[in-house]
Amino acid sequence: MTTPTPALACTGLTKRYGALVANDAVDFELLPGEIHVLLGENGAGKSTLMNMLYGMSAPDAGEIRREGWTVTLGTPTDAIALGIGMVHQHFMLVPVFTVTENVMLGAEVTRAGGVLERRKVADELRALSARYGLEIDPDARVDTLSVGQQQRVEIVKALYRKARVLILDEPTAVLTPQEADALFGVMRDLRAEGVSIVFITHKLREVLAVADRITVMRGGRIVGATTPSETDEAGLATLMVGRDVSLRVEKRVAAPGPDVLVLENVCVEDHRGIEVVQDLSLRVRAGEILGIAGVQGNGQTELVEVVTGLRRAARGRLTLLGDDVTRATPGHLLDAGVAHVPEDRHRHALIMGWSIADNLVLGRHDRPPFARFGLRRFAAVAENARRLFAAFDIRGSGPEATCQSLSGGNQQKVVLARALSGTVRLLVANQPTRGVDVGAIEQLHREIVAARDAGAAVLLVSAELDEILGLADRIVVMYRGRVVSEVDAGAATRPALGLAMAGGVGAQGV
């Protein structure tokens, strides 16, 4: 049997950034109509490889072939013209445009006189989304959509441009299990129609569920190729990280202390004035992890903003260790021991162009030992960076390098290291391991459990059920701004939580 001509292939592809070899003579083949998982830790070179295959950066050596023909991809436009589409981890959407306008952007369909054919495209989108079960409203403005919905827009955008090769960069990082399963259904439908898919992920369960073939990268090289029938999660993890990793979070039974954070009948409005958190009451005790499960966009983001002082509650009361903090500013809460790991590290946590050392003191930059009499003390800042680099195993070229230069996992280590480096009474962690590789997740989870064991109350918000089930001592499910279910972690089951997340009746409680 002859092998079919690959839909997309490369040989000897090499990319250097200064002294760093991001891709070292990589050979990769995507066969027509297959789902090919590309697995690897952050910094393994997956994104570099995909950026070259999508025309976003030029290789230093090697060649790319599309259906057997050698091609040069100068820009993504070239790639799109060759039927290659990509959905990035960080979306490329214009927030104030509607879904239709975003899809048309760069490929506008016009009538005579340059008038946009919005209605026609919107109808096509409705047809597309109905066909693949990707529910979206073509007339909705993108900034009103949840992250999960925005991703659907990106996929529809690629499909609308007749992509025959689809590169999905960590697409499930923002989805619920149900949404992820739906996405896999879409991927299988696409495959049935001959679309070839590169699926970048770090979630091993998904790899085994959906892949036809698996390629594993580490340190800029291909270190293995396998199929789901030949391997298991542990085998993949070992291949990816290069050592045995623990997939279970090791933790003792919680020994909860007194209430640290108490929310009473809290209502929160979003920027449109719509009540997105309704009459919510909950408590987090010292020494326990309260996990908030739920599909993205059910009020978790706004809830976290209220707890960290970034948004005011419209009604209700918040107390921290008995003090009323309903109207406290982020600065006051920080001083009171509220540590925050924001949902979007690029937007809310890090100043990407700044040094890691400066980012590690952001928020405590104005107090001893990092400043005295309003003057910064660089020796203390550098010492702090050295200490946290070692304690959190941050891997980068040094404290003076920019956060931009770090991989996603290491950026998140910087965020968590900063959050945990003061006195922590309450840790608010929102999607703490989104887009982070297995090796780093293991460590981030260990640190969160360590903070709990040290007596901190932990409020963990995650759209990943595995994370909630692995870490939380108590679980509440949010749906449409309300708590619809509350269970002890021991009694929680994946189907029951999934049902509650989808708005069905919860396991117990309201």
């Binding site: 927030p95 104030v96 900034d143 960290t308 970034l310 500013t329 982020p330 600065g331 006051h332 809460l333 920080l334 001083d335 925050h340 924001p342 937007r347 809310h348 946590a349 890090l350 100043i351 990407m352 162009g353 700044w354 400066d358 952001l362 928020g363 930059h365 104005d366 400043a371 309003g374 003057l375 910064r376």
Partner: protein, 361 residues
Amino acid sequence: MTALLRPLLVPVLAVFTALVVGAGVIAAAGASPWDAYTGLFQGAFGSARALSETAVWATPYIFAGLAVSLAFHAGLFNIGAEGQIAVGALTAALFGYGLPRWFGSDLPALVHLPMTLLAGVMGGGLWGALPGWLKARTGAHEVINTIMLNYIAINMVSFLLNGALKDPEPGNVIARTPLIAASAELPTLLERYRVHWGFVLALVLAAGVAFLLRRTTLGFELRAVGSNPDAAAAGGIPVVRTTVIAMALSGGLAGLAGAVEVTALNHRHELGFSAGYGFDAIAVALLGRTHPVGVVLSGLLLGAMRNGATRMQFLTQIPVDVISVIQALILLFVAADVIVRKLYRLRTPGERVALTRGWGA
């Protein structure tokens, strides 16, 4: 190439390119570019007096350039230096001639001069803080508000100089204040030359701004808000307050530009004396890549060009307006540095100066 010289590359090439294109403009106007540039150079650097005058011209450029740069670091585009200079000059002039009258006696220069300069800082600072507050509190974009406040400032100053604050000396038809008291005059550095202590003050403040941005927690917060306001807010930095402080400091520096001109040179506020300084300051800040040292260098360059233009006109009959054309070209090449980079085949930059942020969202 060393890391120290790298940031100079684009500005220097931009100036060079602008001079080459400017030569074409001069030739098209029927004069010899060589004669014109020789005259320009002689006028700017050809004698001790020329050097002194270049420093005099450069002084307000450096102050106002620092003002615009400081705002840039906080992510704010202060186009209002023009109005802030006018208000600062007015409050300084008012204190310069008014303070002895209110006290009913002469004041020692050691008291009067600092208070006069401070009045200029306060005037400009308040005029800058207002759009800062509007931006931070309501999201109203500072570019629009500073432009609008320029009109208000200039017309308000005109109204006052023609009315309440007009020099009451009989026969005076000019819109100007009375002369300030001698105790409020900023002395010259050297006898027989106009170069004054304001130039030294400008250099000191350049060092001060560099210190503020790099060494102080306020500078850290300012840059944090400028780089990523969301992360700054999450880090407990009060974004509203920091934005207002940044604009107040920026306006204060611009106000000082006006106050120094009043106390050192004109000894009164005469309507329109500072016209254009505030807009030139944007060019100074951009050419200097918003770095205080760069601002001093670009302030000196623009001062030299303004100063040398008179001799150039005398030698070649080319109008001084050509200098404005060259200045605009420099700004164009600095702002659109892609042109310069393509022209000289430079590699793409590692960092860019972010000129302004959007309306949020």
